[in-house]
């Protein structure tokens, strides 16, 4: 019988294969018959199938990070990072409020800019993604297992945290460079005395390889320029970090004119290994600085905020050989290092040409001590000694360059609204394609690593104009997907984004999807107020504070009837989701609570506060459709007058909750 079955299966398999074969050959015929109409096919991911790449796209002024699939451009999740998010209770529940604490107090918003995925040996490793808060300088670390923000560290002595958050090739450091120079330490002084008094801090934040925990190892206190973008060296240039600067004029007003005077600004080349060694040997100076360090734990499901009091600062002139300036035309924005680590591209946004420096030539010039001069004690190299080549008149307003796996570079041109493909080494332009419109950054999955991929490119645009149906004065922000697998680029699709997409990081889905967490284990839940079984559900009064230890499972709360609460009480709902199955969150909200709902993952505990203002019997319910009996998932709290004699009591189905 078994043999017969096997034969049958084989026959069936042959039949199925044959039919598949027919289908695909038909498809091929129709393709070759069409002229160029297969863009839709290239982005179509059939229902139930998965995308090939993850893309993490910054939310700009939304303060968040959006997760898309490529090539479909389907939006999977918006991860709250720097801004409160009622959908996920981020910044609303008691557990995550500390994540948004800063030296300025609770700051519920930021401008998120440049995500970067962690690396090992110069290749993306899928552990974490980092992103910077630009406005109130912060760096966040997001777990690519839970897709939640796990840590935020504030960056002191910094303002406009823009040349961030890029990682070195083993994630030794995530780097945060200041856009605005400021008085360090901050003090009351005339703005007109900016020049030579204001300073720019470049912060090197170390990353613990086990936990991912961040700490500011040192801040390099640089001249008062604007530090715009940065990228790490890799391969031969590992150990160096490169920062573009503008406003080397040190203007403090009408920068539009006054910061565009110099023919060349600089790329600052920082030998961080040298400074690390200096610091490890006791170099640098501790200075008072107040900044918050916020860490979320998956065990306690709770964040803690610690206020730090000092930071180690380093004067670059005290570490000879650590910092050099490479003259680069003209107000360069993107600072991009090719996969080999040899070429450093300065995207001079007011320059007609694109400048590429050579790491080898830079080192030769340093060895030969061929300096053109110095700025505030930092040696300036000769442009002619460090330049590797120039891409001649590729377009107008170059902003940012990424690389593929075939030795090509792709640069965005803001003013001429296009992406230009050119060849590393020969500097010849190979192809150009328009973007719609005014492209800022671009992203090739793996682009900022030793091993970029060569299939897709995402262009992130600043202006959308006529590309979508109008929605009042506000239009969606937009990105565009290009196929870069051939000699010529091909525009495949437009897709709207959340907030302004400043930058993105992408990687193959295989790097992440199998490591994604599915549940939190109940027996690992160390939340202070967890009830990990119904037998632990209870209600405890402490003065005018009431703690409700509640559980939830399809499809009831325990307890679901609570009495003895009084007007003026502060009622904490600590709610544990007892489910241990993937994709079964439950929500809860209470009428009149001055906060968001909770959305609680399986095995997780979250807390919201409710301050009842009126006597009565008030319902709560599950806010996330969880089962056929979701509508039945509800309960009541009886609120009596202040000083009432109604005792605290709580039941489920009339019985006090317990195991049996």
């Amino acid at each position: 019988m078994k043999t017969i079955k096997n034969i049958i299966y084989t026959l069936v398999a042959v039949l199925v294969l044959a039919s598949c074969g027919n289908t695909s050959s038909k498809k091929k015929d129709s393709k070759s018959g069409a002229l160029s109409g297969n863009a839709a096919e290239k982005v179509y991911v059939a229902p139930g199938e998965h995308d090939e790449y993850y893309a993490f796209v910054s939310g700009g002024f939304s303060g968040q990070l959006a997760v898309y699939g490529l090539p479909s451009a389907r939006l999977f999740k918006v991860i709250p990072v720097f801004s409160v998010d009622a959908e996920k209770a981020y910044g609303f529940n008691e557990e995550t409020k500390p994540m948004l604490n800063t030296s300025y107090g609770f700051v519920p918003w930021d401008d998120s800019h440049h995500p970067d995925i962690s690396q090992t040996n110069g290749e993306l490793d899928g552990r974490w993604v980092f992103i910077n808060g630009n406005n109130t300088p912060r760096i966040a670390r997001i777990s690519l297992s839970t897709f939640e923000t796990e840590e935020i560290i504030e960056v002191p002595n910094s303002a406009g945290n823009h040349s961030s958050s890029f990682v070195t090739e083993n994630t030794e450091y995530v780097v945060a460079g200041t856009r605005f120079s400021v008085p360090i330490p901050q003090k009351d002084m005339p703005i007109s005395e900016y020049k030579s008094n204001f300073k720019g801090a470049l912060s090197f934040i170390s990353v613990d390889q086990e936990t991912g925990h961040m700490g500011i190892k040192f801040q390099l206190i640089m001249p008062g320029f604007d530090y715009d973008l940065s990228h790490p060296g890799r391969g031969k240039s590992h150990g160096w970090f490169f920062f573009t600067t503008y406003n080397t004029e040190e203007a403090n007003s009408l920068l539009e004119v006054n910061a565009s005077q110099n023919d060349k600004d600089y790329i600052a080349a920082v030998n961080w290994k040298k400074i690390e060694e200096y610091v490890n040997n006791g170099g640098g100076k501790k200075m008072p600085a107040k900044y918050a360090h916020n860490v979320y734990s998956d065990e306690t499901h709770t964040a803690t905020s610690t206020m730090m009091n000092e930071v180690l600062v380093v004067d670059p002139t005290e570490v000879p050989g650590a910092v050099y300036f490479l003259p680069t035309p003209k107000s360069p924005h993107g600072c991009d290092v090719d996969p080999s680590g040899e070429y450093i591209v300065g995207n001079g946004k007011l320059s007609a040409d694109l400048t590429v420096h050579s790491f080898t030539r830079m080192q030769e010039a340093i060895e030969g001590k061929k300096f053109a001069g110095e700025a505030y004690g930092i040696p300036i190299l000769n442009y002619e000694d460090v330049v590797a080549g120039v891409v001649k008149q590729p377009g107008l307003g170059p902003l940012h360059t990424e690389f593929d796996d075939k030795g090509n570079a792709y640069t965005t041109f803001f003013i001429s609204s296009e992406v230009v493909k050119w060849k590393l080494g020969t500097w010849e332009v190979i192809d150009r394609k328009p973007t719609y419109y005014s492209v800022g950054h671009l992203m090739i999955p793996g682009g900022n690593s030793r091993k970029p991929t060569g299939k897709y490119l995402v262009a992130m645009n600043k202006i959308t104009k006529d590309r979508y149906l109008p929605t009042g004065p506000e239009l969606t922000q937009s990105a565009q997907l290009y196929d870069i697998s051939g000699d010529k680029m091909e525009l495949l699709s437009d897709f709207p984004t959340v907030g302004e997409p400043h930058y993105a990081a992408g990687c193959p889905a295989d790097l992440i999807k199998d490591r994604s967490a599915k549940i939190f284990k109940l027996d690992e839940n160390k939340h202070k107020y967890a009830a990990t079984s119904e037998s632990e559900a209870k209600v405890v009064r402490e003065g005018n504070v009431v703690h409700i230890y509640m559980t939830m499972i399809r499809s009831h709360f325990a307890p679901d009837n609570i009495e003895g609460v009084q007007v003026g009480d502060k009622v904490y709902f600590h709610v544990t989701n007892l489910e241990q199955d993937f994709d079964v969150p439950h929500g809860i909200s209470m009428i009149g609570a001055n906060t968001s709902e909770l959305l609680i993952m399986p095995g997780q505990t979250e807390t919201f506060v409710w301050e009842p203002k009126q006597e009565g019997v008030w319902p709560f319910y599950c806010t996330d459709f969880c089962s056929a009996l979701h509508q039945e998932m509800q309960g009541y709290v009886r609120v009596s007058a202040k000083g009432s004699s109604v005792p605290i009591s709580y039941t489920l189905d009339g019985d006090p909750t317990d195991a049996e």
């Binding site: 109940l522 489910e579 195991a659």
Partner: protein
Amino acid sequence: MAIFAIYSCSSDSSSNSENVEVERVESTPAEETTAEVDPMQDKGIGPISSVELGEIDETMAAEGKETFKTLCSACHKIEKRFVGPALLGVTERRTPEWIMNMIMNPEEMVEKNKLAKDLLAEYLSPMANQNVSEEDARKILEYFRSEDNKQ
């Protein structure tokens, strides 16, 4: 051959997910068996095909009770009907394999196993998959045996 193919599909449709293409061919309503299932013969559907039972191991039973408390007691009580059925006497109503398969593979059980389907019809709330390991499911079974043995 065609006859064989159809026969094989209809008898096997529940356990061979690779045969989706073929199932479609014979998706004319399969004859629902109306014959009563003997619950003490039915092993259910899932990872457990046979369980060796020995003397009741009270250590295992005690560990099973703890797991039951965390993962199951929100819906099941031993002595009373709650969201799901009371569990007292379950080891006399069901085979050990069926019990463990129901714990470990509830979605497929309530979809395809007659006894489990009947329970869903009666209780309406489908049993949650609590991702119980085989080891823990075995201990929970021991807890049920221990409870039934006390009677």
